[in-house]
């Protein structure tokens, strides 16, 4: 049944604007109206695709080639998407070949950036290059020595620990596709770890979540990450003891808005 007279329908529309939750959907008997069944189905399809669409590492490298940074591609020890999903431990380790490849690039670096597919290749395909384009100038302003940018396939967050250690970097920032939600299949996360080495837990990291055009903007996220990196070097730590107070720093630089990216 279409159960609402028009004024109520308008009131529901006003309520629905208060939350991204799926409220005021209407019903047909006990059931969802067809339009909502299809809207949900489409969102789920996009979230599923974000997990399973093969990662196009080459394409990401090409997009990053316009930026002033070298790239190197690596793979985790997970040989397939299926095994990647079943065996998180494999996604946290480099393949034997990739370990050798990174050993050859070892140097004296402040920061290693890792772009990793994680659970949403869509997030990386759409967001990695524009986010990094905004981030690099902020890092350069800090005078950081950057390791070659690593593009990692079938990777979990903790893969960055081995990458950072192999490259000889004092810190590692992993930009990774987050577990896709129904309303956010393209969400990028950034995890910062000081003194990376295998065996660290997530309590040793700082995280910025929901980086995407409909969530935290590239500009805001780059500012936050750059702030965290500066603080991590100043205090020689990341994790639960480093609170994200970049909003205070942000207030301090207003009213001139954000630093130009």
């Amino acid at each position: 049944m279409s159960d609402e007279p028009l004024p109520l329908a308008e009131r529901w529309a006003a309520l629905a604007r208060l939350t991204p939750a799926r409220i005021g959907l209407g019903r047909s008997g006990a059931s969802l109206p067809t339009r909502e069944v299809l809207r949900f189905g489409l969102a789920h399809a996009q979230a599923r695709d974000a997990v399973h669409i093969p990662f196009r590492a080459e394409e990401v490298a090409t997009a990053l080639a316009t930026l002033p940074v070298e790239t190197v591609q690596v793979e985790s020890a997970a040989p397939s998407r299926d095994l990647y999903l079943r065996r998180p431990d494999l996604g946290r380790r480099l393949s034997a070949e990739s370990r050798v490849a990174l050993a050859g690039r070892r140097g004296d670096f402040d920061l290693a950036l890792v772009v990793a597919d994680g659970l949403s290749s869509t997030a990386i395909h759409q967001n990695a290059a524009p986010f990094i384009a905004g981030l690099l100038p902020l890092l350069r302003r800090q005078g950081l020595r950057l390791a070659p940018l690593v593009i990692a396939s079938q990777a979990r967050v903790a893969l960055g620990d081995e990458v950072g250690e192999a490259l000889g970097a004092r810190a590692v920032a992993v930009l990774i596709g987050e577990r896709p939600g129904l309303s956010s299949p393209d969400s990028l996360g950034a995890y910062l770890t000081f003194a990376p080495r295998p065996g660290l837990s997530d309590a040793a990291r700082n995280c910025i979540s929901n980086i995407r055009p409909g969530g935290l903007s590239y500009e805001q996220a780059a500012f936050k990450l750059s702030w965290l990196i500066a603080e991590a070097f100043r205090r020689s730590l990341t994790g639960v003891d480093l609170k994200d107070e970049s909003d205070l720093a942000l207030e301090a630089v207003t009213p001139d808005k954000l630093p130009p990216a």
């Binding site: 609402e4 208060l18 939750a21 799926r22 059931s31 969802l32 909502e36 065996r87 577990r179 896709p180």
Partner: protein
Amino acid sequence: MAYRVTVGRQTHVFADLKQVMAKATPLRSGDMLAGLAAASMEECMAAKIALADLPLRIFLSEALVPYEQDEVTRLILDTHDAAAFAPIAALTVGEFRDWLCSEAATTEVLAGIAPGVTPEMAAAVSKLMRNQDLILVARKCRVVTRFRNTLGLPGTMAVRLQPNHPTDDAAGILASIVDGLLYGCGDAVIGINPASDSPAAIGDLLRLLDELIRRFDIPTQSCVLTHVTSAIALIGQGAPVDLVFQSVAGTQKANDSFGVSLALLREGMEAGRSLKRGTVGDNVMYFETGQGSALSAGAHHGVDQQTLEARAYAVARAYDPLLVNTVVGFIGPEYLYDGKQIIRAGLEDHFCGKLMGVPMGCDICYTNHAEADQDDMDTLLTLLGTAGVNFVMGVPGADDVMLNYQSTSFHDQLYIREVLDLKRAPEFEAWLRRMEITDAAGKLSTGRGRQALLAAVQGRAA
């Protein structure tokens, strides 16, 4: 002691009891991840055959997780009710399954033995049971609990209204609550997972819920799902806490990783009860669990995840909870890979909990990296509704926009009520009727209650 089973020319050897239990478990990714799963389907059947012949008593003398190292094991064995156990004391695990399915095991008899059933016994027999057995026996078990209403009565199913919001926005949360109430949801609890862990923000949410429940005199309870230590502190500051929440697991070490101990849970329960906010009962605890949590914390002691999950119900049972919720598909495909594994786990958890006398509900859910979809959730909802589940979740449109996973919706609970003729908690059902949200048959109607509740949230948003 090793266990041997010969099948044709092949002899299968199992090193110990926990290996028999693990290898007898229907296949799931978490046991594979832990390296505990049977290597072949025949080995799995051989383990079931071995298990069927073991006396139930063995679980009283042989601890799967060492007694000296684990306070959950000590709780299970030290509080075991020998008198309640007596009627089944002579049975093997296989005979126990036959007995549970038989006419001898009535609702009253099952309630009588519940304190004598250890989690290991429940898990063991579940491994020999098909899905239909898990439904048939669970349906006979009744666990009734009370705070401001009566949950778990025959022919009823309650719903936790879950109005989460990514930034805890009060108007946004209220909008979801009103939508849910108008679908007749919220009798189990109105329970918010807060995005923030700041005590001030959680206090604000508690007051928001308290105000709404008082203003409309809703016979239900609220909960903001925060750590038990936060709830204790908030109670100390005078916050209106109805239910004390905590995630729990089946080993001491896993509970350590959640920052809880049995003593702390008792403190939480006592703090909750001290407020005397319940009107028809004092079941103040709300626990959540889920297969795989112990392995995830590196605290599984080589025991399969389903057995450890049942041990979490022994933890819950000790605190007379109002609600115990297995959040079955939330943990991800490395523990429960697909719809088949999630459905099986949901039925096992519900069965084991009910057999042990625990008020089991289920967050019928999945994440987008699992091989599952809403069709699988429909199947599990239909099965658990049939099995007599105490409560399920009501999430707007089944899409939790804060926790990023899919559960069951306001519409889903309407569906299962219609198909199985399931009622709400009686006090809540009467309230809906008074508010003219539902008609005499419990079907949704359009009355003045809708207007008043809508006005409540619009006043807040203005």
